[in-house]
């Protein structure tokens, strides 16, 4: 029987030989390549190397997290990467800034969803609605839309942009509140019923956003402000950033702080009584309740915590995009975030972040670059073969292949891995295959075709 190491049963702690020097070496080389080759890969087919170089560099951050190495070396790699390399690249090419901020925003979203789906086992297909709540909250107030809504022309650029600071916690609150309001009626539903209802609720919120006047309907809201931080702007200026990059510079720093908090909260909740309760209800609601876990409250807590991360990031997202519309929050976005969680490794903070990085990079950097390069090379191509049209296909292929070859995710949670690898390569019809399938999420479903209209509830009657 496999026994996990004592004391820290599920920290798949850094293993193997000390790799301090390989880590430093790798980080230094990839960072140097990224920085010094940036000019040579700026144009033409060489641009295809951009994602390669950038990806290689980002890997050094992953290695710093995973490898066994001296703490100072890990800190150094992280610090230099975040403080120097990324801003440097962002200054040189704004799209790196854009990309990194988006990665972190989606990272926080994925972490929030991870609580709901990965820990508590509640499949939420409308998660993006909470993001929308935060985004529209600031979008409406922090843009010319506020003048329309309030009927007061004095707000031609929205309310004082300094309120942005207030709106971040407000976004958290509002999203958490919506989470509780939505959760109360639906959280007693089981399994995929919950999934579909959350999908429906997400759509309801989107349809309202699409038809109400406050949200300016399908036109969306543009010219959304961000907080003015003059001292930071002058700092950015003295660091050589162009004026149109100041905002991103500010948001980059902000988003780093926010995601830091999100990770901390996530980590601490995971390793607490609350985290255990989430896992317990995921695995067996009846037993959890019979062991004293209050079901509804625990689920609501998961819903609200997950939602609050999305709310905060929604506010920041609106400020960064300066434009939001209902389409940015359709169910496909929820699914995108879900795919980050699962692709990365459900239940594992690092895995989920990695999932967000990979998916965002794929969507915002790799696919566009490929299609731009191809298009540049074949300008008169038959429009039906135009590579830029096959982004869905490529994204879909990546999803399918990744899942087929790494169903447990890129960085699986040790807990789940232990679950999955109990029965290594089970025979096609073995018990293991089924057990893993059933224990993945503990909900009890209603399969099969019923012949009678009976409506007997399961387990606890309340």
């Amino acid at each position: 029987m496999t026994t996990l190491p004592a004391n820290k049963p599920f920290r798949r702690g850094p293993q193997g030989a000390d790799r301090t020097w390989p880590l430093l070496g790798y980080a230094a080389v990839t960072a140097a390549l990224l920085i010094f080759l940036r000019g040579s890969v700026a144009d033409g087919p060489a641009r295809l190397l951009q994602p390669v170089l950038f990806g290689a560099f980002l890997l050094s951050l992953l290695f710093a997290y995973q490898w066994r190495a001296a703490p100072w070396a890990k800190t150094a790699v992280f610090a230099l990467g975040i403080v120097f390399v990324l801003p440097f690249m962002g200054r040189d090419n704004t799209s790196y800034f854009d990309l990194v901020i988006q990665m972190l925003i989606f990272g926080a979203l994925a972490l929030g969803l991870n609580i709901v789906v990965g820990l508590a086992g509640l499949l939420d297909l409308g998660y993006i609605a909470f993001f929308a709540v935060g985004a529209y909250l600031w979008g409406v107030f922090g843009s010319p839309q506020f003048a329309e809504v309030s009927g007061n022309a004095a707000f031609a650029t929205g309310i004082d942009a300094n309120f942005f600071w207030l709106f971040i916690p407000l976004g958290v609150l509002a999203a958490a509140l919506v989470g509780v309001l939505i959760g109360l009626p639906v959280l007693k539903l089981k399994g995929d019923y919950l999934a579909i209802v959350t999908l429906g609720l997400g759509e309801v919120i989107r349809i309202f956003a699409n038809n109400l006047d406050v949200t300016n309907g399908p036109q969306g809201i543009d010219a959304i402000e961000s907080a003015p931080v003059p001292w930071l702007n002058s700092l950015a200026g003295s660091l050589g950033f162009a004026e149109d990059q100041y905002r991103l510079f500010f948001l980059y720093l902000l988003v780093l702080v926010v995601i830091g908090i999100v990770i901390l909260v996530n980590y601490r909740l995971d390793r607490s009584k609350i985290g255990r309760s989430w896992i317990a209800i995921r695995e067996d609601e009846v037993a959890a309740q019979a062991m004293g876990v209050p079901l509804l409250r625990t689920k609501l807590l998961a819903f609200a915590s997950g939602a609050s991360f999305a709310g905060a990031m929604g506010v920041i997202f609106a400020a960064k995009q300066s434009f939001i519309d209902p389409k940015s929050f359709d169910y496909f976005q929820s699914i995108g975030v879900l795919s980050m969680v699962i692709l990365g490794g459900m239940g594992n903070i690092a895995g989920v972040l990695l999932g967000a990085v990979v998916v965002t990079m794929l969507n915002l950097m790799i696919l566009p670059t490929i299609s731009e390069v191809l298009q540049g090379s074949f300008p008169n191509i038959n429009p039906n073969l135009d590579p830029s049209k096959y982004q869905r296909l490529i994204f879909g292929l990546v999803l399918v292949l990744m899942m087929l070859y790494r169903p447990e995710g890129l960085l699986p949670s040790a807990r789940r891995q232990a679950e999955m690898h109990q029965g290594d390569d089970p025979p096609p019809d073995s018990l293991e295959a089924d057990n893993a399938l059933q224990s993945g999420t503990a909900e009890v479903l209603s399969p099969g075709f019923s012949t009678r209209g009976e409506n007997e509830r399961t387990g606890s009657e309340r």
Partner: protein
Amino acid sequence: ATTVKIATISPLSGGSSNLGLQIKNGAQLAVNEMKAEFAKAGMTLSLVAYDDQADPATGTAAARRVVADRSVLGVVGTLNSGVAIPASAVLAPSHVTMVSPANTNEKVTDRGLANMNRVCARDDAQGPAGGDFVVNTLKAKKVYVLNDKTPYGQGLADQAEKAMKAKGVTVVQSEGVAAEDRDFTALITKIQTLRPDAIYFGGLYGQVGPFAKQLRDKGITTPIVGGDGYDSDDLTKLAGSGANNIYFTTVAPPLDAVPSAKALATNFQKTFKSDMQGFGLMGYDSAKVVLQGILNAYKAAGNKVPTRTQVERAVRTGTFNLVTGQVKFDKNGDRQTAKMYVIAIKNGARSTAGTVNVVRQ
């Protein structure tokens, strides 16, 4: 040589790709044509085409990539006002000039952005023109107004509605239908019940085609009126047997209305193996404005590759002689004199029913 690029942002996939491709190909023709001239000035000219899928979020993402690529000096686009409005806002802080061949919504230029210009007329001219047609030519008293819930469709329908009401028309119902929707059952029931004399539908051909088809299929022959969103060859294909009794105003000239476009159309056909349409011509002219602007700025900067800001100013202040006539922008970036056309579709065949001149003071 320095690399200099212009970009197009337009839908290359999805329901309005027929027009999006026209814009892109038109711009490509202009680039091909002027490559040599740029080379003489020491600039390697090329075009990057971005697909906005007629979706604002995708369009702004493309705009952000344009901003990041410092060799792009100007943008031709977009097709949809809903995309143009946020995309130009993203481009504005970086002073990337944008010349639109097709965006008619007032808000596109009314925000007073320094980088946003257009070579076409506006909806506050187009809506009333459509309204006039409904009242004067169709003699309708009761009109059903529909829009596709995009800034363009909604804005245009609003303008037309206002104009028609001013002329004493009763608007029996004014509502929206999501742009992706192809299920018009409920709307048709309503139309059958309300029995309007005409339907004004502010939308795009990809949706209007099936709408006309389903409507006619139920035996309803009420005229359908709309704007430049109908101006694609695909409209009659999609409407099939329903392509009858459809009228629209458009800001792009029918090719036969512009004699000088003939050579261009031949060239277009040769290069892209497809027919040039009005918006192809508009795309070509828009690209010409940008390119000419770059060259003007180049000269003004003392034969140096100009900055984005310099190009932005050169476009806004220049005078350009183009296939569709002279282009000069006012302080908001609107074309000072533009033309509009009224087109009728009868039994699948289109014909020009009139022209309107628009002059902005």
